[in-house]
């Protein structure tokens, strides 16, 4: 392998030269027309063509590619299925894009241990499909679960409608094989919980590809529930649906999911998939209850009662898989569906304390009216995670800017109420600029110490998540003299 020249960084061409002969030619993409296919992820507003794409068919290719990048200090970006909505997998113009989507082996599904061991490119839904015959499933269920990869889920700490009860990806990952940004292979965590030492698995999940590349993932599998009931309730407006949500939670029930769609979102979903939601509804509430049959029956009675008390005018219940799918169809297609009623849209992702939902929604309606920009609302009401869809027509002068203003104002509104700028889509390239609104310089600096520990040269997905990179301290391994404690004769075990 050629060595970097002094302290200056090399280029992607140096990386390519190192990899030739070690990786098949078909895995090394340099042809501009083919590179163009990788210039963005699910957030197509940002586009950058990478200098080199490496298709990694084995973890060994990942290690070689990262080692070459490390040797030349060339930035690299990992990419799974490219469905991310914050520009996390946006390539670096002078860097290498490492595509892990061909690493697709399901190594093990163990019902006995309630674990699955999979490659990072495995599609989220495939894990559940493989585990279902054994009576198990993988709980995190992003709406993109038919296409997104487990590696992407790990990097984004993805959630889904059911994370209200079952938690996010972070609550389901036990161990990770990682190629560190210095090209070393390490296994973090164990198949059992509570591996000794710092919880580096916890730090890695949600780090958006900035701490290395996951090449193997061990996840928890959850027993399929005995009974599932899905309720679709039509209300006059989101205030009523929100009040019902609060009342359900206050009654001590933790449903598997509680989702709300407003009138505009319903209109879009009807246009796209004719989901047949209650006629004239200003808002629909989808509540899913699951668990032991007796418990579900009891909770169902309570939820039904609450919905009627809060003004529900039509309530439907699905008890079999087909009916359930029909109810979820409208909800799950909502993002794509707004394309039917608007040429362009921004998918926003913010979080507020659940109790602030009514106030926040009212204020959003005002902002929307003030700016003359339509906003369709679909949200995970149970955990206060909003997904406002800001509608606009990019071909009309000034509309893009106005839509962006509204989208930004919504984030400010979330922060005013003590919330977060992202609940599940991540910070990526898109929201790094908003991080200082949520955290102080010291907070950001402290968080980035983790990055320095994993990636002292800052080559793993640089520019994402944090607006300004931290200057990393000297690495302990690079000390020229003995450790200060060693020098003082106080410790020898370093």
């Amino acid at each position: 392998m050629s060595q970097p020249q002094g302290d200056t960084a090399g280029t992607a061409a140096d990386v390519l030269e190192d990899l030739r002969g070690h990786l098949p030619e078909e895995c090394l993409i340099t042809d501009p027309t083919r590179l163009a296919a990788y210039d963005c992820d699910g957030l197509a507003a940002y586009r950058v063509q990478p200098a080199l794409v490496v298709l990694t068919d084995t973890p060994e290719y990942v290690r070689r590619a990262v080692q070459a990048c490390a040797a030349h200090r060339v930035p690299f970006v990992a990419r799974g299925s490219g469905t991310g909505l914050s520009g996390g997998a946006l390539p670096h113009a002078d860097g290498v894009l490492l595509v892990t989507s061909r690493l697709r082996t399901l190594h093990e599904i163990s019902a006995a241990d309630q674990r699955a061991v999979v490659d990072p490119g495995v599609i989220n839904l495939q894990v559940s499909k493989a585990a279902n015959p054994e009576g198990y499933y993988f709980a995190p269920d992003p709406s993109s679960q038919q296409i997104c990869s487990i590696g992407g889920n790990v990097a984004e700490n993805s959630g889904g409608a059911h994370c209200l009860k079952y938690g996010f990806t972070a609550n389901h990952v036990l161990a990770l094989d990682v190629v560190t940004p210095e090209g070393e292979e390490v296994t973090l965590g164990t198949r059992a919980p509570d591996a000794p030492g710092y919880d580096l698995v916890g730090a890695f999940v949600g780090s958006e590809g900035t701490l290395g590349v996951a090449t193997g993932v061990t996840v928890r599998l959850v027993r399929l529930p005995q009974e599932v009931r899905t309720i679709l309730a039509g209300f006059e407006d989101t205030d009523q649906a929100g009040a019902a949500t609060s009342a359900i939670i206050a009654s001590g029930i933790v449903p598997a999911a509680i989702e709300i769609m407003d009138a505009l979102a319903i209109e879009a979903a009807e246009a796209a998939v004719s989901c047949g939601y209650p006629e004239g509804a200003g808002a629909v509430l989808v509540v899913e209850l699951d668990g032991p049959a007796q418990e579900v029956a009891h909770e169902f009675d309570a939820v039904e009662q609450i919905c009627h008390t809060e003004g529900c005018f039509e309530l439907r219940v699905a008890t079999d898989a087909a009916d359930r799918a029909a109810i979820w169809k409208g909800r799950k297609s909502a993002f794509a569906a707004v394309g039917r009623i608007s040429p362009d849209y921004i998918v926003q992702d913010g979080v507020v304390p659940r109790t602030a939902l009514p106030q926040v929604l009212r204020r959003m309606t005002e902002i929307s009216a003030e700016k003359g920009v339509r906003v369709a609302n679909v949200f995970h009401a149970g955990d206060g995670n909003l997904h406002p869809l800001v509608l606009f027509d990019g071909s009309v002068e000034g509309e893009t800017e106005r839509a962006e203003e509204v989208s930004g104002a919504i984030l400010d509104l979330c922060l005013e109420h003590g919330g977060s700028i992202t609940g599940e889509h991540g910070v990526g390239a898109d929201k790094a600029k908003h991080m200082p609104k949520m955290f102080t310089a010291d907070d950001l600096d402290t968080q980035q110490m983790v990055r320095c520990a994993f990636d002292p040269d800052g080559i793993a997905n640089p520019g994402k998540v944090y607006p300004t990179p931290r200057l990393c301290g000297e690495r302990p391994g690079r000390h020229t003299g003995p450790h200060p404690l060693q020098a003082q004769g106080l410790a020898e075990i370093f």
């Binding site: 019902a111 009576g135 938690g167 996010f168 972070a170 560190t180 390490v186 965590g189 198949r191 059992a192 919980p193 509570d194 591996a195 000794p196 030492g197 710092y198 919880d199 580096l200 916890g202 730090a203 999940v205 949600g206 027993r223 529930p225 005995q226 609060s246 001590g252 933790v254 032991p292 007796q294 418990e295 009891h298 909770e299 304390p353 659940r354 955990d383 206060g384 003590g418 919330g419 977060s420 609940g423 910070v427 991080m435 949520m438 955290f439 102080t440 010291d442 907070d443 402290t446 320095c452 520990a453 994993f454 998540v465 944090y466 690495r475 106080l490 410790a491 020898e492 075990i493 370093f494």
Partner: protein, 407 residues
């Protein structure tokens, strides 16, 4: 000016008492900051003077882990015991880390809610529970402290105050320092304020238990584990040597729901199964009626779920008492002090081969430097852990030497 006076200008301080010794080391001063701001000043001061600090909450288990390499100041968190916010509509609470778990529980129950972290030693503070990733039977249902913590304020070794997470249950903005700090044993910073997600208190709660022969443990354990009854806990207990294993499952929920699940569980557990209060599940196996025994070592063992029954046989064979979660694969053991090194090596090898690990929590009267208490050689990512420590505490003032690999 004496160190006591200088620190006394920053916060409440006192001379150490005999009970303040940490594994035989005597601090010069016990500092008792009442806020994050005071903690920051204390840490800045200690950092500038190169004074070694150990954090203490309730001090219920300061002998656990390795002894600190040196000790000048104990930072005690007990005065930071306020409930900053209990937003019951949002099922979250923000509290000072010096608050005791039991006191928080009283406050939360007034609104029908709870923080599901089992208080196994009694007197634990929130900070101690988080710093050690404390967990008990109910982790099977909701996870451990790492899974419940959603926001944290930490004072770094140099006094810098930093936050991560927030007060909403769903949040992916920035790295999750909550998880990194959970179980870090006070080696990365002083936790001063934390926010948790809470759970509603259920209407009913019932344990069911049965005694079985160790060789027959797999049957009842697996039938309950893979049932759809959603137990909140599934515990096993064996005194070591011969004798039966106790198996107990906890069900929580509505009155009717729990009653019917209990009936079903009795069938799965087999002949002799019945309702019980299973108080033993709330105590570590090395705790006597009031006092911890001093003639056994405290171990934490983990393994993959399917191996738990075999692990119980393995510990029984070695005369080691074991108790813990067959639903999570996390168990605690009390091992005789004779041949401790052999027992540890043998059981550690076994746990490693079955997807887990072994940590020696406490070994009274033993020179712990002769035992690899953390099993550091088998810890993946140790080099990165060293760097994390180096970033957070570059001059090495916080609980130095207590953690894995001499961190």
């Amino acid at each position: 000016m004496s160190l006591l006076d200088e620190l006394g200008a920053l916060c409440e301080v006192r001379e150490p008492w005999p009970g303040d010794l940490v594994d035989g080391l005597r601090p010069q001063v016990v500092a008792r900051p009442a806020s994050t701001a005071e903690t920051s000043e204390v840490m800045r001061f200690c950092h500038e003077r190169g004074l070694a600090v150990t954090v203490r909450g309730g001090g219920t288990k300061q002998t656990w882990g390795m002894p600190p390499a040196r000790l000048d100041v104990i930072v005690e968190t007990l005065r930071m015991d306020q409930v900053v916010e209990h937003a019951h509509g949002d099922l979250i609470a923000t509290v000072g880390t010096g608050l005791r778990l039991a006191d928080l529980d009283r406050v939360l129950r007034e609104n029908g809610q709870q923080l599901i972290i089992d208080d196994l030693v009694g007197g634990s503070t929130i900070g101690g529970a988080v710093a050690t990733n404390q967990s008990g039977p109910r982790r099977m249902a909701v996870g451990a402290a790492r899974d419940l913590l959603i926001g944290v304020t930490v004072v770094r070794a140099d006094g810098t105050v930093a936050k991560s997470g927030g007060k909403v249950v769903k949040n992916v903005a920035g790295y999750d320092l909550c998880k990194l700090l959970t179980g870090s044993f006070g080696t990365l910073g002083v936790l001063t304020e934390v926010t948790f997600r809470l759970h509603p208190v259920t209407a009913a709660s019932q344990w069911v238990s049965v005694d079985v022969d160790p060789g027959e443990l797999a049957g009842p354990v697996e039938r309950v584990l893979h049932s759809q009854l959603v137990p909140t806990a599934l515990e096993v207990d064996h005194a070591g040597g011969t004798g039966p294993v106790r198996v107990a499952a906890l069900f929580t929920g509505t009155e009717e729901g729990v009653a019917s699940r209990v009936t079903a569980a009795k069938e799965l557990l087999g002949a002799g199964a019945g309702e019980t209060d299973a108080t033993w599940t709330g105590r570590f196996p090395w705790l006597g009626d009031d006092e911890p025994s001093t003639d056994v070592a405290a171990l934490k063992l983990t393994c993959q779920l399917s191996s738990v029954p075999a692990l119980v046989q393995e510990t029984a064979r070695r005369g080691v008492a074991v108790r813990g979660s067959a639903g999570a694969g996390v168990l605690y053991a009390a091992a005789p002090m004779t041949d401790l090194a052999d027992t540890v090596a043998g059981l550690r090898g076994w746990c490693l081969r079955h997807g887990g690990s072994l940590v020696v929590l406490d070994a009274p009267g033993t020179d712990k430097t002769t035992l690899d208490v953390w099993g550091s050689d088998s810890v993946g990512g140790l080099e990165i852990m060293r760097r994390v420590k180096h970033e957070f505490d570059p001059t090495g003032v916080l609980s130095v030497g207590r953690f894995v690999g001499g961190i």
